[in-house]
């Protein structure tokens, strides 16, 4: 097919990508949206197979292509079927890295195949950008993957001394190389140098970021993988790459921003800063003088007489895999005529929307899931607030204590309910590593147990009594 026809199909694919993303604006249409995206991809791939240039490559080319598609599909299907939903962030990180790698490799193939006198500055700039962003995405994502998966290899990876200085030096060198590559039209050699330097840069930038900050980093790398694809699109002058890449770039940036806002931290702070108890934060012994423990029977009694119950899940619910037990408890309460709602903090868990995925998996209707601001308006009319494995997201210090390490982070006001029951295994801190005054509040009862077991015990006790 001639280029114009192929381009027309690419245009259709681009429109389908956009419509697919629009589908994701509502749970009801989200499945269709994702399918539309897949169809768009299929369309783009199919029409490329008929492109005149690919045709010119002959049988060997086609053999390679099909081999690649088959191998890649097999690995992709296998990964996506075997993965547990809780390991989602790792998997996204891994895929991200592969996408970034593919982008700079394609740019590399272009560089290798194109005589330098047939190129132009416009293209050489794009090539340098693709090499830089793609390679950073690859190693950055691999480090993020390893950290999240708690891979043993990571323990043997050296933590960098003076990370800020190292980062600055490696970053500077990489940018310089990229600049030289962009302005030298015979750039074959320079391109691969940029790639090597950028691989190092990706490693340096991510290795010193705290494991718990990885979700933000992953969203950012997600954005990068899109930008790398777009840069490759500029190299090949292929609009569907540019459009799809830009969409992903925007999406990643927006998610990064959402997460940073919900944690009240700046992106620079996540990327370069450290987080932890500052001098000003009271230590745990001081805070936890007056903690009241409880057990399943007492909680069941409280729930039995409640008219309105709000459940606030956190990372602990994911760890305990308690979502199905929570569903059963909620259904039992609803059947008794008690009003039950869920309060979902935007950064509860370890990914944006983490809790929503888990609760959806357990078939909890999304009408019951309320966002932070909405649930906070009715917290004072709530008889029991049941906090399951959440910690930082219900820490009143975020709201009240301007000296706290999480000062200014918006929280769910679990402490404003008449009674607050917190289920967690111990008094150990959450991600931010600071004590939580909620646990020692007058109206709080602590139920120390694994999240799933605790909920099952409460339910059993409710059914008995």
């Amino acid at each position: 097919m001639s280029r114009a026809w192929v381009d027309l199909v690419y245009l259709i694919a681009a429109v389908l990508f956009i419509l697919g993303l629009k589908g994701l604006t509502h749970p009801r249409t989200a499945v269709r949206g994702n399918l539309l995206g897949a169809v768009a991809m299929l369309l783009a791939v199919l029409v490329t197979l008929f492109d005149r240039q690919v045709f010119g490559g002959g049988v060997f080319g086609y053999t390679l292509i099909f081999l690649g598609l088959v191998i890649g599909s097999a690995i992709g299907v296998w990964l996506s079927i075997t993965i547990r939903l809780e390991s989602m962030p790792e998997l996204v990180a891994l895929f991200n890295g592969l996408g970034g790698a593919a982008s700079f490799i394609v740019a590399g193939a272009y560089v290798t195949a194109t005589p330098s006198d047939e190129t132009s500055y416009a293209v050489s700039f794009a090539t340098a950008a693709s090499g830089l962003i793609g390679a950073v995405t690859l190693t950055g994502s691999l480090v993020a993957f390893a950290k999240l998966a708690g891979h043993p290899l990571l323990k043997r990876m050296p933590a960098l001394p003076h990370s800020t200085v190292t980062n600055a030096v490696v970053g500077g060198v990489t940018l310089l190389l990229a600049f030289v590559c962009a302005i030298s039209l015979s750039y074959d050699f320079w391109f691969w140098l940029v790639v090597i330097a950028s691989l190092g840069l990706g490693y340096c930038l991510t290795i010193s970021i705290g494991g718990a900050d990885m979700p933000v980093v992953i969203a950012l790398l997600n954005s990068y993988s899109g930008l790398a694809a777009a840069a490759t699109g500029f190299v090949l002058q292929n609009n569907v790459l540019i459009i799809a890449g830009a969409l992903v770039g925007a999406s990643g940036l927006i998610l990064t921003n959402v997460m940073c806002k919900a944690m009240n931290r700046s992106l620079t702070n996540v990327l370069f800063g450290t987080l932890g108890p500052t001098g000003e934060t009271k230590d745990a012994d001081e805070v936890y003088v007056n903690v009241k423990a409880t057990g399943p029977d007492e909680v069941a009694m409280l729930l039995d007489v409640a008219r309105r119950v709000v459940i606030v899940p956190g990372y602990g619910m994911a760890v305990a895999q308690a979502q199905h037990a929570v569903r059963d408890l909620a259904n039992f309460l609803i059947a008794k005529g008690i009003e039950v709602e869920f309060g979902i903090h935007p950064v509860a868990g370890r990914m944006p929307g983490h809790m929503n995925v888990l609760l959806a998996e357990a078939d909890i209707p999304y009408e019951l899931l309320k966002e932070m601001d909405e649930i906070n308006t009715s917290m004072e009319q709530t008889d029991v607030c049941l906090v399951i494995g959440a910690n930082d997201t219900v820490n009143p210090d975020g709201r009240d204590n301007p000296k706290s390490a999480i000062a200014g982070m918006p929280i769910i006001n679990a402490d404003k309910a008449r009674t607050c029951v917190v289920i967690k295994r111990s008094l150990s801190p959450g991600f931010a590593g600071i004590p939580n005054p909620l646990f020692a509040a007058d109206n709080t009862l602590m139920f120390f147990a694994d999240g799933k077991q605790a909920v099952l015990d409460i339910l059993a006790s409710l059914k008995e009594g």
Partner: protein
């Protein structure tokens, strides 16, 4: 003389297509920002993995490379096809698996 005129014309054409590309890029960024800010937090995890799958679009470039280029470049293309396909197929499937849970009701 002819050569330099030719190179100039080539550079001009490249610059024009660069600007057209930038125009498309800028518009797509606008579309992305407008559409994605409308996506509710509930769906942020599927959005992350779904948009990740879309970034595998570079597969199109990989196919062109493996088909068109000679020698080593062809093999690079092949490698890129494998990586990008994992990204695309895995990404869409995993997103689908997640979204199915949402549709259940």
């Amino acid at each position: 003389m002819f050569d330099s005129a030719f190179l100039l014309a080539q550079e001009t054409a490249a610059a024009s297509s660069l600007i057209a590309g930038l125009t498309i890029f800028a518009l797509a960024i606008f579309v992305g920002v407008e559409v994605i800010t409308k996506i509710p937090p509930t769906l942020h995890t599927p959005l992350m993995s779904g948009s990740n799958a879309i970034s595998g679009i570079t597969l199109v470039g990989a196919i062109l490379a493996a088909g068109e280029y000679p020698g080593a470049a062809k093999l690079l293309g092949f490698l890129a096809i494998v990586l990008a396909t994992v990204n695309v197929v895995g990404g869409f499937l995993v997103t689908h698996r997640m979204l199915e849970k949402f549709r259940a009701r």
